[in-house]
């Protein structure tokens, strides 16, 4: 195992769970519905008109229609309804925070109706059980256009698939060695089991016309200027690979690690018992990554996991549902405290952290003057992500207009550079959701298609 946690014991050495239990700790968090359960649940859908759930879905899936298809035992039809709006409907069914999207809008939330229809699980039922003899979407006649997509994450894959459907040739440039982006590397292991991310990409690529080149990293061995020159259009769907730093001394000390880096290793390993485990650890942050990190560390066998957030629970970006998952796994939540000092032992390794208590002072966060310490073998940071240093540093990429750190796009997902489009986590109007990235990619594909068609007409 890598770098900064090398001095810590493995899950096997910690010995809280035997290998079998470890595996089951990381199996499906929410098991799929059985066909019978899906049939019964599909009956609960009222087939609303102008359904609120559809309005709430960032990718515009026609939810009442696909649920009705499930209820008619038309699983392929249901899957196609989902996939034509969201080609990554299978992973979205697993990772979408449905409790704040479609399921929150379900009319069955009203008192007399008990609880919302389990839309996420029904979507998973359809996409898990579809059986197509060949890819359900066909490509339009070739346009002769070739488009470059940067990043094989949800935004890039969605864009590429839709472009391929519209008749374009696509080359995806991916920095990692596998496609899928956060679905492959970043989502908690128990939310995406059985190598689903890989299988989903394989399915997506069946449409044809999409080539992926791996190990291609913008700003390192790839330049935006070259892409603009060689391709008819460019779609930027790069992720935010760099973790924000705490800005404290000792940040490089063994025992301190960005949560996403650990999760990436966790997602790729074939042997959970070989992973290093901090018996006592601190996770700093309040988003889903922080929750995923804390919960997974607890499930690996850590005895004391503390999640620390500088504000109150109500301000946490992780949903109530996510917070409940962490609590159910024994994660302790400490709020209104911000990192003050990384505590190191004699060997210069992380031994804990001192926190400064905070409070709300007329809307602004301020220290109260009190501090406290938590002993820990490791500290995981999950306080936000940014671009990797070099990715937008070449001369052309540096010209891109920004919204804060992120790339500025208009409503057509066009950047400030002609023929360059962007979507997903790298642009501003995002909620940092997989489903949103998929939608951006899809809409950008249509925008690119329209622009190219207009150019053709003009010529």
């Amino acid at each position: 195992m890598t770098h900064s946690l090398n001095h810590l014991p493995s899950a096997k050495e910690v010995g809280t769970y035997d290998p079998h239990t470890l595996d089951s700790n990381f199996s499906d968090l929410h098991p799929p519905l059985t066909p019978r359960q899906a049939m019964i649940e599909s009956q609960r859908c009222l087939y609303c008109f102008d359904a609120p759930c559809v309005e709430a879905c960032p990718s515009d899936i026609d939810i009442p229609s696909f649920i009705r298809q499930i209820s008619e035992n038309n699983i392929n039809g249901a899957a196609e309804t989902i996939l034509e709006a969201n080609i990554l409907g299978g992973s979205c069914a697993r990772v979408c925070p449905t409790e704040i999207l479609c399921e929150r809008s379900c009319v069955r939330n009203h008192d007399a109706e008990c609880q919302p229809v389990l839309i996420g699980l029904l979507q998973r039922h359809a996409t898990d059980n579809m059986q197509f003899e060949s890819h359900p979407f066909k490509r339009a006649a070739s346009t002769g256009r070739h488009i470059a997509v940067v990043g094989a994450g949800p935004a890039g894959l969605s864009c590429a698939h839709r472009l391929a459907m519209l008749g374009h040739q696509v080359t995806i440039f991916e920095a990692e060695q596998k496609p899928g982006g956060l679905n492959e590397y970043g989502i908690a292991r128990y939310k995406m089991t059985d190598d689903f991310a890989r299988k989903e990409v394989e399915f997506l690529l069946e449409i044809g016309g999409i080539e992926i080149q791996y190990g291609q990293r913008l700003g390192e061995n790839l330049e935006l200027a070259t892409l603009r020159k060689q391709y008819d259009s460019v779609f930027l769907g790069l992720g935010l690979g760099a973790s924000r730093a705490l800005g404290l001394t000792g940040e490089q000390a063994p025992g301190l690690m960005p949560a996403v880096d650990y999760i990436k290793i966790l997602r790729q390993t074939n042997d959970l018992s070989s992973l290093t485990v901090a018996k006592r650890c601190i996770v700093i942050g309040a988003g889903n990554t922080a929750i995923d990190m804390a919960t997974q560390m607890a499930r690996l066998g850590a005895s004391e996991v503390t999640l620390v957030y500088r504000r109150g629970v109500e301000a946490m970006s992780a949903t109530d549902h996510e917070q409940e998952i962490a609590k159910a796994n024994g994660v302790r939540m400490v709020t209104w405290a911000q990192p003050d000092e990384i505590l190191l032992n004699d060997q210069g390794r992380v031994a804990g952290m001192r926190f400064a208590k905070t409070h709300d002072q007329g809307g602004r966060l301020a220290p109260t003057g009190e501090t406290f310490e938590i002993t820990a073998d490791a500290v995981f940071t999950a306080i936000g992500q940014g671009f990797e240093g070099a990715s937008l540093s070449d001369a052309t990429a540096a010209e891109l207009a920004r919204d804060g750190e992120r790339i500025h796009v208009n409503e057509m997902f066009q950047t400030s550079l002609p023929n360059v489009y962007a979507g997903g986590d790298c642009v501003k109007p995002g909620q940092d959701l997989t489903v949103q990235a998929v939608q951006h990619g899809k809409l950008a594909a249509h925008a690119i298609h329209q622009a190219l068609a207009a150019k053709q007409e003009a010529a």
Binding site: M39, I40, S42, Q43, L46, Y47, C48, F49, D50, A51, P52, S71, V107, R108, H110, A112, E113
Partner: protein, 447 residues
């Protein structure tokens, strides 16, 4: 019978007993001279095929049983695979279909069992269903044998829609009024107890059959028998269900899906001036006490149940008796007779309805869950009388456009929330006006 030394299983008023008084209400009936502790009878069908079933039914508390149809020797032979269903989405059985024939046991065994059961259960109604060929000799032969069993009456199976009509029996007789009259007449001639004529719904006007039965001297009619049906097709093998080998055939349809058809036919006879007092035993999709109460309100003097028992077992009669008696107590009906036919005066022909009556829909905004079902139903298929509005906070609001609403009930029917949409009668200030007298009617009757 029960061999427990202390009969701890029975006490007065126990729900599965044969007591006629349940929850302080007398449920007993005297139907065309046949007495029973309650109006819940099992129809002639598989549940009443032999003593074993019938005894279990009586033990469960059924007031009467119509023994599965007896015929001439040799007994009928049945095929394997006999039933099929029309399912709802959750596998609930909406309708039921069968291709079974009349009894496939010998006449001798049936008669022996009937005799014994009647002796053991003297307080319960036991009626014997019969179907023999359409000649007097056949009836003259079997009727004295049935009379000797001590059973309380007979029911003529003139409605079986499959298997038997090909042999000149069942529906082949029931679809011919002259034959109904003739067979009924023979029965009255060769049998001294009440004769009930069971009518087939596979005709155009049910009243014709009832009138023929009455002319033949019938003491009562029972209806409906099953409706010709094919419930579903196995689309892989292109064959209907139930499948016999690689083939199928139409069967007889029953179960809750047929209740509306049966109720109309019962009402047609009950309000026919030609058969004003003819007792009716109501049959067709009766599954609970409310269904029974509705049939009785339309003129039934007893009700017969089959499908609901076949799907749930005999125990359902407990709830039927309990529910019916509690409802009767609440409404101060002290007997079945007290509310029998109560809905008949209000059941009339379309031309007698008040053309000036107006009702319009009202949506209770507090109960509305904003599903939009009423809106799209009205907008696409009715009178565009519901407005779709959006509140400032983005919530939807559906409002009835009163001047456009014709009071069709569609929105109320499609609304998933009970009592959210109500139909409110309007004060029009106009007098009662039937279409017969409406000036807009070119064929009006001058008043």
């Amino acid at each position: 019978m029960n061999t427990t030394p202390f009969n701890t299983l029975s006490f007065p008023g126990k729900k599965n007993s044969g007591d006629s008084v349940v929850n302080g209400v007398d449920l007993s009936v005297n139907f065309a001279g046949i007495k029973a502790p309650n109006p819940f009878w099992l129809a002639s069908a598989p549940p009443t095929d032999k003593a074993y079933n019938v005894v279990r039914a009586y033990e469960a508390g059924w007031g009467g049983v119509v023994w599965k149809t007896l015929g001439e020797e040799p007994p009928a032979v049945n095929v394997s695979s006999r039933y099929s269903a029309h399912y709802g989405k959750n596998r609930e059985v909406i309708g039921f279909n069968n291709i079974e024939l009349i009894t496939d046991r010998s006449l001798e065994i049936n008669l022996k069992e009937i005799t014994q059961v009647k002796k053991d259960w003297p307080d319960r109604a036991l009626i014997v269903s019969i179907m023999v060929p359409c000649n007097e000799e056949a009836w003259a032969y079997i009727l004295p044998l049935v009379e000797a069993t001590g059973a309380d009456g007979i029911e003529l199976n003139l409605g079986c829609p499959h298997g038997m009509p090909e042999r000149g029996m069942g529906a082949a007789v029931g679809q011919n009024p002259d034959l109904i009259e003739k067979v009924t007449y023979w029965c009255k001639k060769h049998y001294s107890k009440p004769v009930i004529v069971k009518l087939t719904p596979n005709i155009t006007d049910i009243r014709v059959g009832a009138q023929a039965a009455l002319r033949g001297g019938a003491d009562a009619v029972s209806l409906i028998n099953t409706i010709n049906s094919i419930t579903s097709i196995d689309l892989d093998n292109m064959v209907a269900k139930p499948t016999v080998g690689h083939q199928s055939t139409h069967g007889g349809y029953c179960g809750s899906a047929v209740k509306p058809i049966a109720m109309n036919m019962v009402a047609e006879i009950a309000r026919d001036p030609a058969t004003p007092t003819l007792p009716i035993s109501g049959i067709g999709g009766i599954s609970n006490w409310r269904d029974a109460a509705e049939f009785i309100a339309l003129g039934a003097g007893s009700v017969q149940v089959c499908t609901a028992a076949m799907l749930n077992g005999f125990r359902i009669v407990e709830e039927m008796k309990d529910g019916l008696s509690r409802w009767m107590a609440e409404k101060d009906y002290d007997s079945i007779e007290a509310f029998s036919r109560k809905a008949i005066p209000q059941t009339t022909d379309w031309k007698h309805l008040d053309i000036n009556f107006k009702t319009i829909a009202k949506i209770d905004q507090d109960l509305c869950i904003e599903c939009g079902r009423c809106y799209i139903a009205c907008e696409d298929t009715s009178h565009q009388s519901i407005a779709k509005l959006t509140e400032q906070d983005g919530t939807r609001r559906y409002e009835v456009i009163e001047e456009e609403c014709v009071g069709c009930n569609l929105c109320q029917i499609t609304c998933p929330v009970e009592n959210c949409i109500t139909m409110v009668p309007q004060e029009t200030g106009q007098p009662f006006l039937a279409w017969d007298n409406d000036p807009r009617n070119p064929f009006r009757v001058a008043s």
